[in-house]
Symmetry: C2
Amino acid sequence: MSGREGTRAASKVGPPDRFEVGMDHRMPELLEQLRKAVGESHVVSGDAVGDDYTHDEALTSVPVTPLAVVLPGSTDEVSEVLKVASQHGVPVVARGSGTGLSGAAVPVADGILLAFLRMRRIREIDTENQVAVVEPGGTLEQLNAELAPLDLIYPVSPGEPSASLGGNVATNAGGMRAVRYGVTRHHVLGLEVVLADGRVLRTGGKFVKCSTGYDLTQLLIGSEGTLAVTTEVTVKVQPRFSVSSTVLAPFGTLAEIAHAVPHIVRSGIDPSILEYLDVVVMGSITQASGLELGIPEEVKAGTLAYLIVVLEGMDADRVDEDVERLGTLLDELGARDVYVLPAASGAQLVVARERAFYAGKAAGCDDLVDAVIPRAAIPDYLAQVAVLAEEHGAFVTGCGHIGDGNVHVTVFQPDDERRHAFMRAGFELALAAGGAISGEHGVGTAKLPYFLEMQDPVSLELMRSIKQAFDPAGILGPDRLLGTVHAGPTRAGATS
Amino acid sequence: MSGREGTRAASKVGPPDRFEVGMDHRMPELLEQLRKAVGESHVVSGDAVGDDYTHDEALTSVPVTPLAVVLPGSTDEVSEVLKVASQHGVPVVARGSGTGLSGAAVPVADGILLAFLRMRRIREIDTENQVAVVEPGGTLEQLNAELAPLDLIYPVSPGEPSASLGGNVATNAGGMRAVRYGVTRHHVLGLEVVLADGRVLRTGGKFVKCSTGYDLTQLLIGSEGTLAVTTEVTVKVQPRFSVSSTVLAPFGTLAEIAHAVPHIVRSGIDPSILEYLDVVVMGSITQASGLELGIPEEVKAGTLAYLIVVLEGMDADRVDEDVERLGTLLDELGARDVYVLPAASGAQLVVARERAFYAGKAAGCDDLVDAVIPRAAIPDYLAQVAVLAEEHGAFVTGCGHIGDGNVHVTVFQPDDERRHAFMRAGFELALAAGGAISGEHGVGTAKLPYFLEMQDPVSLELMRSIKQAFDPAGILGPDRLLGTVHAGPTRAGATS
């Protein structure tokens, strides 16, 4: 249902006994009320629940079949579903396209999965105010397809065009273009959400600034479905650049790239993309996409890492000039060579880099680090991670949004205990460097143990009390982000 | 203490009886503990409290003398003060430079005013990560003075260079450059704050993106001192543009300017400043600053509004080219003429526009509208406001950040009741247009009645429960933003 095939093995995990026991006698009534809320054909339960609904793209989470998949068609229907869920104390997990990497959209066995396939319209493109209003199931590719003829773009590009706007809001999705344009949080101007008890809340609007009370829009962004269910997203859009140029620079070491990046950022050249890839990732993504960049073997031989820089603008002469300046700068900063890629290969390379996760997954990687650290700390951090990997018998490859300090390390270590120890130590290093566990994927279920263990207890306590304020019964996204467990009558009944 | 003279009349309002009665027997103990926390000489009370501490720049709020002004010198001292305040149930209001326009820094009579004159250092400028770390009393002019030799700038420019970073965080300050660079919220990467009970919380860090739990940084920004007291601000800084050009375009009507703006925004020219001024404001600010722009009388005669556009860049040729394009565009969009101002007059005009508030104040204006609405709704909104003004016998002049939809209307109507009715109706129009009460000044005490009356009750309830989560005893910034009243032992005692 995510626009891609389910990539998980078919072995679904059914609801554990304790939930079934608790639900069995209420189940017919619950399903009846849900069908009344959204229509007979929009409630799916039991064996009819498709595999794709049981997981997202997180590498480490186990597929779970929910009690029911519910497909609302409107905000009112979402509200009705949440009232029913509240009444029964049944947890609710929201799912956009299922392309998340943190397990935040994995259902709970005794809960409802709210899927937004019936709410995927682009409701409005307002060219005067330069905003778009989108339903939560609307995807990035849909939105940009409608914006393109108007010479507009929604520039947040988390690497998966089939991702939904609702999901992007939930994780505060980032991606390669964040170095210039910022992340989801910088583009969402307003939200309509439904609270756990079914009340509808509207925040923000078609304006780019506001100082009228606490910014609930910003609080909801990145809350991974634990505070409310998004039913409409208002985003800022912008003029689409007509010219783009992709520069590839091989470097002897990653440390040299990390050293070069602050100079590029400071130069005022303002790249739209600034990515590093180690040789392993470069090899795997070019192979996976059949891309031949024509880099001479003698250059490849001494290269351990690549820098990709994309410049964009409205004026070809200016972009050419900037490419020239960038080339000179990269030369001075120790690049082994500088290649301005032909337009087609440039675009292909960017797409191939976006698919790096899938290349890693195809190669059998076991987990993914998505830490964010101060940009200048990257060389030290990666050197320490390499030492850690050796200590824990893990093989790691890396790429990342080096302009943002967001590092993606692909981890190969099938042993759960050793991998967990490595991940834990890696996150500790990130925190010690002044960073955080997730730059853009979110905590979800996948990074939950690390988050609960390492996050500052004062901030955790405040987050829990915010959660309590929005969702006192804890029915929204239990067991993820904060690890709060819902305590409704159903589960209480189940354990009796 | 704000870097400007106290502009209020000297008539200080002392604590009302009900508070004095409650405090009298506790006062010596409280002062003793506060002196222990911050040092003898850093606690000021009674007649020693200077006029400047009794107010900020809000036009409608009444000066209030606090029980004590306390000047902490460190985060630890702030923490000690808040522990003492919590113990006594004494409210605390934080004050930066006192340049706010919403009354959020006006003390309460039975409370402590925390002033940050001893915490105004720029702690660090980190050129590699392009961030600065500033104490809450540090001002915008101080920060930019230290950034300038490094060719860096903090671009948020709320119009008052003596404003403090702590105050900017409290109100989510905006200003003229927001159309290109965004507001405070888009530049603050991390905070250190002290909670009401004295615990210290650190949020964010030297990174531009994060998806690791609820974004407490964003929640704290714009909370006007009601959730926590800021003790350190980490902001993103950026390369300083070397070239700037100011374009002035007179228009026959404001509606024509409003119509032109979306075309300019869409053109990709990306101005740093995009301001409108009506003829009254233009007349008063040029007169106040002695600025002669040399606009021919025959052009002035048919002009009702002016558009100021500032373009900035690193390359003089490019800025010149863009000015050329902008000129052609403005011509097509109906400007009566287009003037590229000499550098000195351009800079003077921008400063004069920044001082528009003071020109209005000097002319005796009674209140200020700072509504934000969708950009495209501005012409209708201002036309309706003009009708309203006539109905309520108010004289209004206007200027604003038209690129952002942030409208400043200066209101002359000395009668409280008639003015309140006009303001209320004006805010209702803004909300009906899909806007909000404050674009950048905040709610504070000045706009509190309007906010409580008109804000959606669901969002108000959520804000109150967030307030409750952070500050259960309600000692931080009572009677402002949310109108929550603290219920500590002192006030309870006072009413008995």
